[in-house]
């Protein structure tokens, strides 16, 4: 389940159901919560436990009913061509910013006489350029 809303309902449903069940069991058997509550508090615990348990069951049912729909929506969002285009443009900007930042960092390293760091960064940038060229050649042949 990729959708965050779905996960939220699932976790909330499990927690609420367990809490409700615990309260109901405490009310019913008094094995789990032996605190010497009065009869009224015990009854309240039972009613509240029932309500919480039902709420938890409702949330879990809601999750189960919606899970298929949410999964389909998540799949559409992932494969949606506009989203792919947006991700591509964002990646382009990120690549430019990364290259600029690396260049600035290299200049700073050189000014600070951190030759090893500058050399390592230059190596990393060369690898990036090499991978980028290799990917271009690969897709140039493929497309």
């Amino acid at each position: 389940m990729k959708n965050k809303i779905g996960r939220f309902y699932l976790i909330l449903g499990i927690i609420t159901t367990i809490c409700g069940l615990y309260m109901l069991l405490s009310f019913r058997t008094e094995l789990f919560l032996d605190l010497g509550f009065s009869e009224n508090i015990c009854l309240l615990l039972g009613i509240l436990g029932g309500v919480v348990f039902l709420l938890g069951c409702g949330l879990l049912s809601y999750y189960l009913i919606l899970s298929t729909k949410l999964d389909k929506m998540a799949e559409i969002e992932e494969k949606d061509e506009r989203n792919i285009a947006i991700r591509g443009k964002a990646a382009e900007i990120l690549q430019l910013v990364t290259a600029g930042t690396n260049l600035i960092l290299m200049i700073v390293f050189l000014i600070l006489s951190l030759d090893t760091a500058a050399l390592l960064l230059a190596g990393a940038m060369l690898i990036q350029i090499f991978i980028s060229l290799a990917a271009f050649v690969y897709y140039n042949k493929k497309m």
Partner: protein
């Protein structure tokens, strides 16, 4: 590139969500197409034209001098 998607969709009485579901795209994509902010891929254009049973050039209007790299 301009298009008549909104007009055609409304004339068929279809909501954006329904069209998006049928075409397998998000509702935002349909909205962006209708507003002219996004140009569809050729596959999506074909899907839309087949869905409405109309030729592509009756839905999408290409104008000379339009920069294809936009959108």
């Amino acid at each position: 590139m301009k298009n008549r998607l909104e007009e055609i969709r409304k004339s068929h009485g279809i909501r954006q969500e329904e069209l998006a579901d049928t075409l397998g795209v998000s509702r935002q994509t349909i909205g962006s197409l209708e507003n002219g902010r996004y140009n569809p891929s050729i596959i999506l254009a074909f899907k839309i034209s087949r869905f409405f049973g109309m030729p592509i050039d009756e839905i999408f209007i290409y104008e000379e001098g339009t920069d294809e790299r936009e959108a």
